[in-house]
């Protein structure tokens, strides 16, 4: 049978604040275990949390970018559960009074505009990390577990959708587009490998037109791809059960990426009643409308809007516009480049081609690129004027990319300027023709291929610097009079 699928996503985004949510400890990733801790994030007796205003600002900005209504009154709540990575055995989170509610994210799905409604955006503290002894070399530590509290207390923003997503592909696209927002706002790097973006899903099936079925929660998916796979596998599992007339149990299931299927979490042990109640150690947040307005005014142009504008203003294909607006930095680079070389499609081709290829190869970010957009523009100007060939331009750009030197400098230093001087080219052509009588006679016999061969030889001799069009023209002239 065909079922209607309802998917809801819960995305946790680690915020890029310098210090933790409730203490002054650093949030730097990768420090040695427990080096970034203090009595507050270790939950020692008698200490108290103090809210990090920047984290509130980042969360509000993201929520506003997601078209949410920011709350004027918001409160933290304690979520109580026991786990060794949670030093207080409660997490300071938000429950009934989140920072923002009721927003949406729009994006394109198979050529159509989709709108996914967001239920809430709230702020909470992260837990620590358990390291189990099996992973260590030291035999004495094999049956021990260790806790690294460096991550404890790092601000996490949680973005929760209503269960309105109707396919794994839509979930995937939602995530791809959602991820751009915190990155545009520079409030998170949304790096799944470093755990700065995590996503859980809930999914239920129901026959068309009927009310939503029992949902299962999915955890332990470590990439957007795994989320799509996990949801697909879960749809299969649930529809199989429903087809046989069986019931779906409400449970939490874990994705096993090796076996490519979900399996139930040992539920009894962790059946939680979180016993939420308002956090008495923090005063409720009263957020002034003025601040909200200020944050709204400060929002940059967001990816979806910018993409539409690129299509409209620069007549770019939607695909190009999508790639270029993927990150704010790339889109800024593109527009900056246009200032010195106002040919959008050509710039787009270069950025999407050589630029992104080298970025990936060198494994760096747009911000780390040594070539300024103006320099790329200048290079494209040389190319257009015919000072250099397309092939050479690529060689030069790679050099620019690696060394940060200017196009002009490289061209001059390495003598890479195209040979457009007819006199010197004629000289080379004469040499080539003398050395390859076979090709000349082939050409005479009407073999067109021979011309290409001869052009190639001239290019070889000039180390690629000759203008190929000119070589072609001069060769034909010479051959015709032979």
């Amino acid at each position: 049978m065909n079922y209607e699928v309802s998917i809801g996503l819960e995305v946790h985004v680690e915020l890029l604040t310098k210090s933790k949510l409730f203490c002054g400890c650093s949030t730097r990733f990768g420090a040695s275990p427990n080096s970034q801790t203090c009595p507050v994030c270790l939950g020692l007796p008698g200490v108290l949390p103090v809210i990090n205003k920047k984290a509130v600002e980042y969360t509000l900005s993201t929520a506003l970018a997601l078209n949410c209504k920011a709350s004027n009154f918001s409160r933290f709540a304690r979520k109580n559960y026991y786990y060794p990575d949670l030093p207080k055995n409660y997490q300071i989170s938000q429950y009934e009074e989140p920072l923002a509610r009721q927003g949406y994210l729009e994006f394109e799905l198979e050529g159509k505009l989709r709108k996914v409604e967001i239920e809430r955006v709230h702020l909470e503290e992260d837990a620590g990390k358990l390291i189990h002894g099996e992973a260590t070399e030291n035999i004495e530590e094999k049956d021990m577990s260790f806790v690294d509290y460096n991550r404890t207390g790092i601000p996490l923003m949680e973005i929760v959708t209503f269960p309105v997503i109707s396919s794994p592909e839509e979930a995937y696209q939602y995530l791809v587009n959602l991820k751009k927002i915190p990155k545009y706002l520079k409030v998170s790097d949304c790096n799944m490998e470093e755990g700065s973006l995590r996503c859980d899903a809930n999914i239920s099936l129901a026959p068309k037109g009927e009310k939503r079925g029992t949902k299962a929660e999915l955890k332990n998916m470590n990439s957007f791809k795994e989320i799509r796979e996990g949801l697909t596998s879960e749809i299969k599992r649930q529809s199989h059960l429903l087809d046989k007339g069986k019931r779906i149990i409400q449970e939490t299931r874990l994705w096993d990426n090796k076996k490519k299927k979900t399996y139930p979490m040992r539920s009894k042990e962790w059946a939680h009643d979180y016993r939420y109640f308002p956090e008495p150690d923090l005063l409720p947040l009263e957020i002034e409308e003025k601040w909200i307005e200020e944050l709204k005014a400060k929002l940059p142009e967001l990816p979806q809007t910018r993409c539409q504008r690129f299509i409209r203003e620069y007549s770019l294909p939607p695909y190009d516009a999508g790639v270029l607006t993927d990150s704010k930095e790339l889109a800024d680079y593109f527009e900056e480049c246009l200032k010195s070389f106002p040919q959008p499609k050509q710039v787009s081709n270069w950025i999407m081609g050589e630029f992104l290829r080298l970025l990936k190869e060198e494994n760096i970010t747009v911000e780390e690129v040594k070539v300024s957009p103006t320099q790329l523009g200048k290079l494209l100007k040389y190319l257009k004027k015919g000072t250099i060939s397309g092939k050479l331009a690529k060689v030069i750009f790679e050099e620019m990319f690696k060394t940060g030197r200017k196009a002009k400098e490289i061209i001059k230093l390495q003598g890479l300027k195209q040979i457009t001087n007819e006199k010197s080219l004629r000289k080379v052509i004469d040499e080539v023709l003398e050395q390859t009588p076979q090709a000349v006679s082939d050409f005479k016999k009407g073999k067109g291929k021979a011309l290409g061969y001869l052009v190639g030889e001239v290019m070889k001799k000039t180390k690629g610097k000759a203008n190929p069009g000119l070589v072609n023209k001069l060769l034909k002239e010479k051959l015709s009079i032979l």
């Binding site: 009595p39 270790l42 939950g43 020692l44 007796p45 008698g46 200490v47 108290l48 949390p49 103090v50 809210i51 304690r78 109580n80 026991y82 060794p84 030093p87 207080k88 055995n89 409660y90 806790v147 042990e269 009643d273 016993r275 939420y276 109640f277 008495p280 150690d281 923090l282 005063l283």
Partner: protein, 486 residues
């Protein structure tokens, strides 16, 4: 009078006039401690060597002509749920035995700046849960007025240390009466400041929305001076409020002209001892003679205070005490087990009965399906209790009540009857629920020579009026001059 019998203010004058050295004071107090501590058992830890060193440092500074403040070189005892850096802080619980905090409470930092000398940490009911100090995991503290009786609690150790002349000053903490009730039962002055007046940073939490650190002293003046030092906004405690701290010594006026005092009829219930009632009414007359207008008022929701308190306080406690799990610090079971068993056994073996009782109650109160009926409802009743007081405070400057319905009871008398024990706090709890300040002062003795306490409650952040009434009463009566003979 001997040095150990003097108030901090008197000692300050002697030090200032160079009639006595700080070292002499500290030596004299430790002599007193050696004499009586075995009987009263007020202290869990004593810092004799360091105290003497500090004293000599002060004497040197004084001899060099350094200006001294009212608390410079004055010895103080600290309740063992307030963190003193690098000093064992146990909350009188096995679960925190050998826990040495690397930080000091903000109140302690402020005391250090004021130049006090720390004498030791005092006994208490485990995690401040109790009204007799019998819930300590380590020892039973005795009331110096009668060693057969309890000193009240939970700050029993601090009250006894002051009442027995072991120290002139102590800090306690008050969640439902834990400063005022033992102060009443031991015949000393105990002040619970407005919620938010004194930073809670470094006070091991029992019930976060109710806890407050406060002074236990021999006189009202000492109480004012100690409050002066520990009060004020602290950036490490978001619930400490940014109200300017007045000069409390200016409130110490010994008449009460124009002061309006309410006497709530709901506080004179059956179950209150006749002698307590009589003494409160006598005290009322004294206040009237000093110029105060005293009228009967009504606080209609008083009867729900104890029930409300035991829902709110236990709910918060169940969460606050969740961190004692044997993972990072504190007691961990010696038995080799899996994670869940480690949690269970560490807590089973580490906590005492009363603490377990309250954790269970609090966990239940917050559970799915019960939250609204218990915690939710309690919060609403809490608002009603606060509104009762707000209403009275529209027409009155203060409210007076007995601090405790009874005088000190026998050791062991109520330990097996928690409900009876909980009623010890029936008159003190409302102040915590409403967040207002309250003081308990000595207003007489019963026929067995056991102290009776008068409680004065004031408006939020109006410790001044509370201190003024207490001071006027004290200055015009002789009770506070009596000392327990041990």
């Amino acid at each position: 009078m001997k040095l150990h019998e003097l108030s901090a203010h008197r000692l300050h004058k002697l030090i200032k006039n160079r009639e006595v050295s700080v070292e002499e004071i500290v030596i004299s107090l430790f002599q007193r401690i050696e004499k009586v501590e075995e009987k009263v058992k007020a202290f869990l830890f004593l810092y004799k060597k360091e105290a003497l060193e500090e004293a000599r440092k002060w004497d040197k500074r004084i001899s060099q002509g350094e200006d001294i403040g009212p608390l410079s070189g004055i010895p103080i005892a600290i309740k063992d749920n307030i963190c003193l850096d690098k000093k064992e802080t146990t909350c009188a619980s096995r679960i925190l035995k050998e826990f040495y905090p690397p930080y000091a409470a903000t109140a302690i930092e402020r005391l250090k700046k004021a130049g006090v000398i720390f004498i030791g940490k005092t006994n208490m009911d485990e995690f401040a849960m109790g009204s007799s100090t019998e819930n300590s995991a380590f020892q039973i503290t005795r009331n110096p007025w009668n060693l057969e009786t309890i000193p009240g609690g939970s700050s029993g150790g601090s009250a006894v240390a002051v009442a027995s002349g072991e120290v002139p000053l102590a800090l306690g903490s008050d969640t439902g009466g834990s400063i005022r009730q033992p102060a009443a039962l031991c015949g000393v002055v105990g002040l619970k400041p407005t919620y938010g007046r004194v930073s809670r940073y470094g006070l091991v939490a029992f019930a976060s929305s109710l806890d407050q650190i406060g002074p236990v002293t021999k006189t009202v003046r000492d109480s004012a001076n100690l409050l002066q030092v520990i009060s004020g906004k602290d950036e490490f405690d978001s619930t400490s409020l940014d109200y300017s701290v007045p000069d409390y010594s200016e409130s110490l006026i010994s008449e009460l002209k124009g002061i309006r005092i309410g006497l709530p009829k709901e506080y004179f219930i059956p179950g209150i001892e006749e002698e307590v009632k009589k003494k409160i009414l006598t005290a009322t007359k004294v206040l009237q003679d000093l110029g105060a207008r005293v009228e009967e008022v009504s606080l209609p929701h008083t009867e729900y205070a104890v029930a409300t308190y035991y829902l709110v306080a236990t709910a918060e406690a169940s969460s606050n005490l969740a961190r004692y799990d044997g993972v990072g610090y504190g007691y961990r079971t010696k038995e080799k087990t899996n994670l869940i068993d480690m949690y269970k056994k560490s807590r089973q073996q580490g906590f005492g009965d009363e603490v377990k009782r309250r954790i269970m109650l609090g966990t239940y109160v917050l559970s799915k399906g019960y939250y609204e009926n218990y915690y939710g409802k309690a919060q609403r009743v809490r608002t009603l209790i606060k509104e009762d007081l707000d209403k009275v405070f529209q027409d009155f400057d203060a409210v007076i009540t007995p601090t405790s319905p009874t005088v000190a009871f026998k050791v062991g008398e109520k330990i097996d009857d928690p409900l009876k024990m909980y009623l010890s706090d029936i008159f003190t709890i409302s102040a915590n629920l409403a967040g207002i300040p309250g003081i308990s002062i000595l207003c007489g003795f019963n026929k067995d020579n056991l102290p009776i306490g008068l409680q004065i409650l004031g408006k939020a952040f109006d410790e001044e009026t509370v201190l003024r009434i207490a001071y006027a009463y004290e200055q015009n009566t002789e009770w506070h001059k009596r000392r327990a003979e041990i």
